[in-house]
């Protein structure tokens, strides 16, 4: 009896093992596939986890009887939808279009799951509509590659408690040195200047991005991985110093404890992306009218650079039979005023287009921020994001490894810089084991 059970178990494990083996990394195949319009009525499927996306797509469907888009939904990308995409690519029933965050696009690229839209003249012609750095996020810097249409962006700025800074006579920091100095005064006044997030490694990536850190490179034949370049190390050491001196709190992010720290005035600032405006407004409702937004502190006085945290693209999967129509829909979804307005209303998406910054909803004052036109700050930040930051092909793994190290560092074991070094070697290791060509 026991023997049979063992046989059953092993065969199941073998089956599961077969299906999780990765395809070989294809990095040489950059030729764009053909992109010709189909004849007759076209039905497309589109998977996205944007709340309320059905209503946006309905506007398209009403106007385009010959290109009907069916929405599928699910949890957010890392919550299961990306894994579903991989399963569906294997099973041959992937949707035509899918929502993929910028930091995960390379994962699908190395699995050869994405259609190259560079052959679609409507796509290459739309390049100038999008903010330069967002376009680079979907081309990976290549001239004849386009692996998605930028959807939204997360330019970063400094949210701060205007009332508390004023009451305590502390100037709003414009450089990171001033920010550290302000942190001491805030501590003396009984608060923390901010909460260092031990698990949002992508926020830290945004901070490194601003400083000029570059984590990944790809010269077309192999990847380079470096989380300990001078700029990234500078950022890591800076925050390590604030953590060691206990000038920042370290409660886990996105918890009620964290909301409470902001709601009760324990945390005074948050260096976050544009979508963070809504997180504060909902998480800390009693502080209404007391917040304001300023540009990110700079590493040298007078500089103008910003980081980015988050943002998605709409990609067309390689298995799609109608890349032209899919691209047409993706362009409408992410660059037409009507779609961008709806996406902003339903899900607070901040558009990746240049003209998106002038949507009426993004040029008016926001009550929660004392009537400040906060989106103007983010619109300016968006133009200051460097276009040459590249994501790696295994970001989920990289994030998880770095977050483990960050968690240890905030509890006093090791440092952020060491955590990044460990994450770097484990990322390289994982890439090698998946036969992704990598240097080092």
């Amino acid at each position: 009896m026991r023997r049979i059970a063992v046989v059953v178990m092993t065969s199941v494990l073998a089956l599961a093992g077969c299906s999780s083996g990765g395809d070989d990394a294809a990095s040489g195949d950059t030729a764009a596939s053909a992109c010709a319009p189909s004849t007759g009525k076209v039905d497309l499927t589109f998977t996205s986890w944007i709340p309320g996306i059905e209503e946006v797509v309905k506007v398209w469907n009403d106007k385009n009887p010959n290109i009907q888009v069916k929405v599928q939904t699910g949890p957010n990308g890392n919550g299961g939808t990306y894994q579903n995409f991989f399963n569906q690519l294997k099973a041959g029933n992937a949707p035509d279009l899918g929502q993929i965050e910028y930091d995960t696009l390379p994962s699908f690229r190395v699995q050869d799951g994405l259609a190259n839209l560079a052959a679609c003249d409507i796509v290459t012609g739309a390049k100038d509509k999008f903010v330069d750095w967002t376009w680079n996020q979907v081309t990976f810097g290549g001239q004849d590659t386009v692996y998605g249409i930028p959807q939204d962006a997360g330019p970063m700025a400094l949210f701060y408690r205007a009332d508390l800074f004023k009451q305590n006579g502390i100037a709003v920091p414009t450089t990171w040195a001033e920010y550290a100095a302000a942190a001491e005064k805030v501590k003396a006044a009984g608060g923390y200047i901010t909460n260092f997030s031990q698990s949002d490694v992508n926020q830290f990536a945004g901070l490194a991005w601003q400083a000029g850190g570059r984590w990944f490179g790809n010269d077309g034949s192999q990847w380079t991985v470096d989380f300990s370049d001078a700029k990234t190390t500078q950022v890591a050491d800076y925050w390590q110093d604030l953590i060691s001196r206990k000038l920042v709190s370290t409660v886990p992010p996105w918890t009620t404890e964290w909301d409470n720290a902001y709601n009760t005035g324990q945390a005074w600032t948050w260096v976050s992306a544009v979508w963070g405006a809504n997180s504060i407004a909902t998480g800390a409702p009693t502080t209404k009218g007391k917040w304001a937004v300023a540009p990110m502190p700079q590493w040298s006085a007078g500089d103008k650079s910003a980081g980015n945290w988050g943002g998605s693209s709409t990609a067309v999967f390689k298995s799609s039979k109608h890349p032209y129509e899919a691209a047409q829909f993706a362009l409408w979804l992410n660059s037409s005023d009507e779609a961008l307005t709806l996406l902003n209303q339903k899900a607070n998406l901040y558009p990746a287009t240049k003209s998106g910054a002038t949507l009426p909803a993004l040029t008016t004052g926001v009550d929660f921020y004392g009537g400040q036109k906060i989106y103007e700050v983010f619109a300016e930040a968006s133009t200051q994001v460097s276009p040459d930051f590249v994501w790696g092909p295994l970001m989920t793994k990289t994030y998880a490894d770095a977050a483990d190290g960050f968690k240890a560092a905030v509890s006093g074991q090791g440092t952020l810089a060491e955590a990044l070094k460990t994450a770097q070697s484990s990322t390289i290791q994982a890439m090698k084991s998946q036969a992704i060509p990598v240097k080092g």
Binding site: P51, P75, W254, P285
Partner: protein
């Protein structure tokens, strides 16, 4: 001395039970309290005690959000779970009964394979099932979740034990002599004798399918087919984007455990009997 000892051990037992009850009930208590608070008081007030009672408003918001999609999810869950538990219990009962009462070649082997099936976690089967359903083009349908949920090897194992314990062979002989067919005997005599055991199987199966998550996550893309577990999880992953969803997830979680509690309250009388029957023999 003896009585003091037993008093001591009774107190100790009560203490251990009390600690466990507290440990298990505390999150439920937190959930009940959190579900009655409005968004503003949720973060600001004591998490284990009530503030202004906004439960009715919260429920109304949940039930009307996005045209009442939550109710649809609850309905789906009841359809998946109730249907799968009923069909699954019937299948398990027939299977276990046959394995217990009939002698046929390969019986032992069959039973051992079923036992092996008990050891295979449902999560390990989700991906192979997805590939199979993809092959026949049936993913993203009601059946993609319903059909795999019917199978319950543990139920077969239990049914085999219950059938052996509660259906005397003499009775079956008597039924045969009286001219009753095997199927008729099963439905009119044996299944009634096994009833308490079947309730147990039904309850186990009901809970397992109600809580099943990975299978629908992998199979379904159409929101209108989601069970409530997957729907709430989906909302929960969108909290960063749309923080107001957090309150809906809390109230939804509370409402989503209600059917389980109802099922237990209605069936626990049978269940206790059933557990006893199995344990003695």
């Amino acid at each position: 001395m003896r009585s003091r000892e037993s008093l001591f051990s009774r107190t100790a037992a009560m203490l251990v039970m009390g600690v466990f009850a507290f440990y298990i009930l505390l999150p439920v208590w937190w959930l009940i309290v959190a579900a009655t608070k409005d968004r503003e008081q949720f973060t600001g007030t004591n998490p284990l005690w009530f503030a202004d009672f906004a439960f009715v408003d919260n429920v109304r918001e949940l039930l009307t959000y996005r045209d009442g999609v939550f109710l649809r999810w609850m309905g789906n869950s009841i359809a998946y779970t109730g249907g799968a538990a009923l069909c699954g219990t019937l299948l398990a009962a027939m299977c276990g009964y046959a394995l217990s009462k009939y002698r046929f070649p390969g019986r032992e082997t069959l039973f051992n394979i079923v036992l092996g099936g008990v050891l295979v976690p449902a999560t390990a089967l989700a991906l192979p099932l997805f590939l199979i359903f993809s092959y026949v083009g049936a993913t993203n349908t009601f059946w993609a979740v319903f059909l795999p949920s019917i199978v319950n090897p543990f139920g077969v194992y239990l049914a085999q034990i219950y059938a052996g314990a509660s259906v005397p062979d003499e009775l079956l002989e008597a039924a045969r002599i009286d001219g009753s067919g095997e199927v008729r005997t099963f439905f009119t005599v044996s299944s009634r004798l096994m009833f308490p055991g079947l309730v147990t199987i039904f309850l186990f199966h009901f809970v397992a399918v109600w809580n099943s998550f990975l299978l629908p996550l992998i199979m379904l893309g159409d929101e209108r087919l989601f069970p409530v577990t997957l729907g709430l999880y989906t909302w929960n992953t969108q909290v960063n984007q749309l923080p107001e969803l957090r309150g809906l997830v809390l109230v939804g979680s509370l409402l989503s455990i209600a059917p389980l509690i109802v099922a237990f309250l209605l069936l626990q009388r049978f269940w206790r009997n059933g557990l006893g029957t199995g344990a003695i023999k």
